[in-house]
Symmetry: C2
Subunit: 123 residues, 2 copies
DNA sequence: ACTATTGTATTATCTACTTAATACACCAAT
DNA sequence: ATTGGTGTATTAAGTAGATAATACAATAGT
């Protein structure tokens, strides 16, 4: 897991985003055990408290489970994971359309620019 | 100008974004004078120092000009404005494609979801 | 000349985020 | 039972963003 942080957002929030992404994109195996809070903190180069704070949030979302003295585990609820993934996709696109609209672009223009950039994509 | 701020980003950064958007989307008339720093701060419900900090950044970008004792003005460089607007659109879409990719969506799926949400758009 | 309004600068304080160091509670493995 | 590795909690200190109050510099308008 390669950790990277920017300075335009609290680190704990970025950890939440990144771990969530790892889970819903299938880069984590559902049901697997995470590294310990301490080890993840070391790996990410942040304080254990900060890691703890982020993971607690993900537990509230239902994406992580805690086994008191054994560690934290990824949920094995595949439905939940897929639902969150689909929601995120819809949200991303809705955000794009909102952004383009706020720039003053109309439906037709958006379609054009989108298609153009899609074509420039490999595969 | 209706000011709204979230708590997931510094306020001065959000002011930069919002004012820039007003300019490049044509909601400000190029060459027009802004309200005074103090008045804009009051209007936005922030401290004058915070507003000052944001406007200084926009001046560095070339979108604002300062007339020492008369106030700050929107640039009248229409080319610059249009260039920034186009850049932003490209950036937004690139970001979307990156986001969708990180969720594990392929080109075809992205196209499908995008089209679906475009159709749900009025006009 | 004077005044009011402009941008700008300075200093202090407050809050949220982060780090740091430490301690505690729990339990599987030995 | 003891040990070692879990998660969790607490307290203190550092840093950046934001607020607050104030002062200064420049000039347009009178």
């Amino acid at each position: 897991m390669g950790w990277k942080f920017s300075n335009d957002k609290p680190i704990f929030a970025q950890i939440i985003d990144q771990v969530e992404l790892m889970i819903i994109s299938g880069q984590y195996v559902l049901g697997d055990r995470l590294l310990s809070v301490r080890d993840m903190a070391t790996e990410a180069g942040v304080n254990p408290n900060t890691m703890q704070k982020a993971l607690t949030e993900l537990e509230k979302k239902g994406l992580l489970l805690t086994n008191r003295t054994n560690g934290k585990f990824i949920t094995d609820d595949q439905e939940l994971v897929q639902q969150i993934r689909a929601e995120k996709a819809v949200k991303y696109i809705a955000q794009l359309l909102k952004n383009m609209h706020s720039l003053g672009y109309g439906k037709k223009e958006i379609q054009e620019i989108f298609n153009k950039q899609m074509e420039e994509l490999g595969a």
